[in-house]
Symmetry: C2
Subunit: 214 residues, 2 copies
């Protein structure tokens, strides 16, 4: 238990980060959520993130950042996101939804926030098992970023915690349900519509996970 210790939790609106938030709270951390509006096509995700933070009675910061250089189908409404209609094998290659250095940018802000507010931990719901092939979701990446914290900050002792990194989507959903995370409030679809498209990578991983968890 880390009773009363402060933590910054990255919240995307998806089920992984919601489960991560409830995990951090369960571990006794006093949490603050950090939510990013980075121009993602799936704007619905932001509402979910805010709803999850409010539901957990956790203070949050919503930061708007601009990535004017595009380079990802997640930021560009003209290019399709991978789906059963535009197929690719999940986990085999780096998909077009990869946003260059996105998690590095998120972690940097989280680090600044953590250092400025005296937090001892940064929680991120990254996952290297049922992940979508992003290089910045693997354990080696987080180990590398941990070194940046040790070398580049005054505080030095802020830990990155990735509780879901080795779980399958099914295990994440089971954990989320056990901890009382409001999975019904979360949003996974990449496509940017009002209802989940059901065919993008993210929808398919989510459906597979729920099916497995019953």
């Amino acid at each position: 238990m880390a009773k009363g210790k402060k933590a910054v939790v990255l919240l995307s609106g998806g089920l992984d980060s919601a489960t991560t938030l409830y995990y951090a709270l369960d571990q006794g951390y006093q949490c603050r959520a950090l939510i990013f509006d980075y121009g993602q096509r799936h704007r619905r995700e932001l509402k979910s993130a805010v709803a999850v933070a409010k539901g957990a009675k956790v203070p949050y910061q919503l930061l708007k950042i601009k990535l004017p250089w595009k380079g990802s189908s997640l930021l560009d409404l003209r290019s399709p996101v991978p789906s059963t209609r535009h197929p690719r094998k999940i986990g085999k290659t780096i998909p077009s939804t990869y946003v260059p250095a996105r998690n590095t940018i998120f972690l940097s802000f989280a680090l600044s926030f953590a250092e400025a507010s005296g937090a001892r931990a940064i929680f991120i719901g990254a996952n290297a098992v049922d992940f979508s092939g992003y290089p910045d979701c693997r354990p080696a990446y987080y180990q590398a970023f941990q070194k940046v914290i040790e070398q580049g900050t005054k505080a030095k002792k802020i830990r990155i915690i990735t509780p879901l990194i080795n779980m399958t989507k099914e295990q994440i959903i089971r954990l989320g349900m056990k901890l009382g995370a409001p999975l019904d409030k979360t949003w996974s679809c990449y496509a940017g519509g009002r209802a989940p498209c059901g065919v993008c990578d993210s929808c398919r991983l989510r459906a597979k996970g729920f099916a497995g968890a019953g």
Copy 2:
């Protein structure tokens, strides 16, 4: 020589980053400058950065970012910046002008920009000799960030280049003059006034460097 290779250069408006830009151009890189408006009290710096980019005929991106958590005298107009009036020994402790994780945030955006635009290098005018005691200005920090690039990006091969890291301010000024960098357009003062205050850490280092270089 790196003829035609693309690079992203972090430009602050100070003399170190201006010299770094001219160094990168001299090495044959095709440069794009990245300038940050992060709420720094010394707004004058931004004008200098834009003037330096324009003078070098280098395209630039000016990014506005918000660090709503403060935690630095550089962001907070109510707290004094260290100076002969509010003294501390340069290089001995981490000063109040330290902005939590600032260089990590800058590098993250530079990395995203570099990856999205196919650049092979990121130039930053960090300096560990006549520096102001910031942990994110030391070589070990840049080595750690290099590993983050290798682990966390699709491109993998983007190099961080810190040409000034082991130079004294005097050597930097001599190099800048040799390369034709418009040092007269640069701005170093932290205090945020119309004319340099002459007494803050940054003004003192600058004056000492110019005196040394003649």
